[in-house]
Each structure stands twice: as C-alpha cells, then as structure tokens.
C-alpha cells in the first residue's frame, strides 16, 4: 500500500516535471510515452486531475486545451509578467480580427466568402499573417470553377485562446436583432 502510494506520487512528479518544462500542451498520448510501463488512459486522467487539484491554490494552473494539457500562470500574474516583456507582439488589426472571426465562426470558408461578408477585398498579408501564426490553414478546395481554397482554424488557434473546441468560442451575438426585439 505504501509502495503504491509512493508510486502514484512519483508518477505525478514525472507528469509535473514534463508539463512544467514542455512550453506547449502535451496530449494524453505524449504523456503516456513518459512511462514505459503500460498505463491506462483512465489512470492518467486520474493522475492529471490529482495534479490539477494539488496546484489549485498555487501560481500555475493545469488546464486542458484543444491539443492537450499545459501549466499556465494564473491570470492574476499576467499583469506582473507583462512587465518583463514591454515589447510584446502587437495584437492584430481590426481587419485581421474580422477575417479571423469569419474563418472561426463560418469555417470552412473561401476568400470569396470572407470578401462577401466584409464587403471588401481580403488583404493577402492578413491571410499570410494568420497562416504564419498557424491559426488558420487550408483544409481543401471548394468544388466550383477555380477550385478556391477553403480555410479553417487550427488546433493551435484553440490552444492559444485557451479553448478545448470551437464550441467553446463565445456565442455569436446579434446586437441588431436584440435591439429590434425591444422595439416590438
């Protein structure tokens, strides 16, 4: 019994060491590779849950995002940590964010679809920017003349926004509609 307990503690430590050093989410498959002995996925999940609880009131939190698990600093430290890198990468332009929103909420879409919704031509730099960040990629071609590329968001996009799936995106609001309701 004592041995079993030690063993669990040791496995948790191995997981902690891996997740604190990874710098990116680790999938269950990644984590299983840490142990040469066969481990059930259920056991691994249990260990991760325990580890999450162990860190409950500490500086990091263990979170699950689209491509796996990672430790990240609790939000309350963000303000301090921002002081270390005053020159952070700038946030995207409105045009880029609108393009991204269309791809995220209406995927898969072509450039034509994006232009139709925004009413202006798509700046190729924006598409390049989003693809270089690995937030957006081409998932196929629409079967129409010219076979335009279909764009979709990636797992990295979900990871970087702290999401496990697209379903966790904030729901689309329609201010206009809401407002109109009041008039009736």
């Amino acid at each position: 019994m004592q041995i079993e307990q030690n063993n669990i503690q040791h496995m948790k430590s191995v997981l902690e060491a891996a997740l604190l050093t990874a710098g990116e989410p680790l999938s269950l498959d990644d984590l299983l590779r840490l142990f040469t002995d066969r481990m059930e996925r259920a056991t691994l999940r249990m260990l991760l849950d325990e580890l999450k609880t162990d860190w409950q009131s500490r500086t990091m939190e263990l979170v699950q995002v689209a491509s796996g698990w990672r430790f990240q600093a609790r939000e309350e430290y963000a303000l301090y940590l921002a002081r270390l890198n005053p020159e952070r990468p700038q946030r995207y332009s409105r045009a880029a964010m609108e393009t991204l929103a269309i791809i995220a909420y209406r995927q898969p879409v072509t450039r034509g679809d994006i232009e139709e919704i925004r009413g202006v031509a798509v700046n190729p730099n924006i598409m390049r920017q989003l693809q270089e960040r690995n937030w957006v990629d081409v998932v196929g071609q629409r079967d129409v003349p010219g076979r335009p590329s279909l764009y979709a968001t990636t797992r990295t996009f979900l990871d970087d926004l702290n999401l496990r799936s697209l379903a966790e995106l904030p729901p689309m609001e329609n201010f206009t509609r809401a407002e109109i309701q009041l008039d009736l």
């Binding site: 990240q72 600093a73 940590l81 952070r88 946030r91 995207y92 964010m97 925004r118 009413g119 904030p170």
Partner: protein, 261 residues
C-alpha cells in the same frame, strides 16, 4: 449602441479620438476616417447607428444621401480606395429606385428590396462583434503564459536501424566495386564456415589453447555442422590464423592462435 472606432490619428498635431458628430469631414482628415472604416458595410452601419435608424426599416433615401455625400468626398481625395464604396453606392441607388416603383397590385408578397442589404449588414455586424470578443480573449503570449522551465535534454539515442535488405545492398555495392580491382580476390567460402572461423577464434582467445576435439560438440551438432566446423579450422590454418600442433602421432592435437614468436 454607438459603434466603437479606434483611431490613432493626428490632424494639425491634434490627437483625434472620436468620429466627428456630423458628417462634415475636414478634407485633410478624410484618409484617416477612411482607414477607420473597414469598408462600405462598416460605414453604413456607422451611419445607421449614428442616426438611430431602424435597420429593419431603413429610410433608403436618407441613408443613400448621407452615404453618397461621404463617398463623394472620398472620391475627390483618394479615388483608388473608393472602389468597394462605389459598388455599394450603385447598390444603394438601385434599392432606392426599386422602392420608388409602384408595386404592381397582383404581386403582393414581393420581397422587400432592402432585404439582402439588411441581411448583409446584420451578418457583418455579428462578425464585427465576434471579432471584438475574440480580440478581448486572453491569448497565449499576451495574457496567458505557459510554463516552460528548463530541462536538461538527453537525446534518447536511437541507433540506426539496419535491415537485411540494407546489408545486402551494401554487400552488393562492395562486390561491384571489388570487381574493378582486378588484383583483388574475393573468395566465396561458405558463410557458415566463416561464421565458425569467428567462433573458434573467440574460443581460442578465451582459452589460449584448446584441444582439437573440444571444438566439436559431437553429441549435439549434426554431421553438417561438424563438417562446417572442420572446414573452418582448415581455413583458419590456411589463412595462418591458428597454429595446429601435435607432439607425437596419436597424441592430442592442439589449436592456438598464431603468435609471431
């Protein structure tokens, strides 16, 4: 709800941070405002919001007048940027004129000419809000910092894998090349003989000197293997790798690795 526009612009050294209340735009500032809008739909939404127009019952004449007024000023200033805006002008004028036509009595349920425009405006506004929401979310590299402590990287050494095909291919290329050296002899001794040569050498290395009969496992090895073993000893002797000695006839035969002395 007033549309939020973020502008970083200076005119005559003065910071501009709001859109002017009316539609009069100083000519020098036009470019700035042009940049502030993401296109004709954005501009139309701004006009609708600013004038508190009901999007489901847009007064086309008024909206078109204000829009054209704006676009005319843009045209005077920066023609090439106005293409998307001009297309919208044409659409607005078309809707306006369709609304002016008297409705034929026999067609009652004709769709409102504004329907498509309204649909697009609503879709665009929804996306615009979604973009703002996305932008407000914490992002990795901004508000989210992922643990990435240092660790001593041990590269798990994985030796190259070699298949029989690899080995065969290598041997084949050796032989091909060897055939170019006319003086070289590649003899074709049986592989199992050569293997036994190695094995006998290994044994002799360990034991220094061995009795001839000790090299044969007469009980366990079959005849073919015994023959191979014998051939290996002969080949070892021929290549001068072992020394075979016998003190007197019928006395034990000994093998030992050849020494220079």
């Amino acid at each position: 709800m007033q549309t939020q526009l973020s502008i970083d612009a200076r005119i005559y050294g003065e910071q501009l941070d709001t859109i002017p209340r009316d539609l009069y735009i100083p000519p020098d500032a036009l470019e700035v405002y042009l940049d502030a809008f993401e296109g004709p739909l954005d501009l139309l939404l701004y006009l609708i919001r600013k004038n508190n127009l009901n999007i489901l019952d847009i007064p086309m004449a008024e909206l078109t007048r204000q829009y054209m007024n704006y676009v005319e000023k843009m045209r005077a200033q920066k023609l090439e940027l106005a293409a998307d805006y001009l297309l919208m002008s044409a659409m607005l004028i078309e809707i306006k004129s369709r609304m002016l036509l008297p409705k034929p009595a026999d067609i009652e349920q004709e769709e409102d000419p504004r329907a498509e425009l309204v649909r697009r405006l609503m879709e665009y506004e929804a996306i615009k809000l979604a973009a703002q929401n996305l932008d407000a979310m914490p992002q990795v590299g901004q508000e989210i910092l992922v643990a990435q402590a240092y660790y001593h990287e041990i590269v798990a050494v994985q030796p190259p894998s070699v298949s029989l095909e690899d080995l065969m291919a290598a041997w084949q290329s050796v032989l091909k090349r060897a055939s170019h050296f006319a003086h070289h002899k590649v003899s074709r001794a049986e592989l199992s003989v050569r293997e036994h040569m190695s094995q006998i050498l290994r044994q002799l290395k360990q034991n220094n000197m061995m009795e001839f009969s000790a090299l044969f496992a007469i009980e366990t090895d079959g005849l073919p293997k015994l023959v191979v073993c014998f051939l290996a000893i002969l080949e070892l002797a021929r290549e001068g790798l072992v020394k075979i000695t016998q003190q007197a006839p019928f006395s034990p035969i000994y093998l030992q690795i050849s020494h220079a002395d």
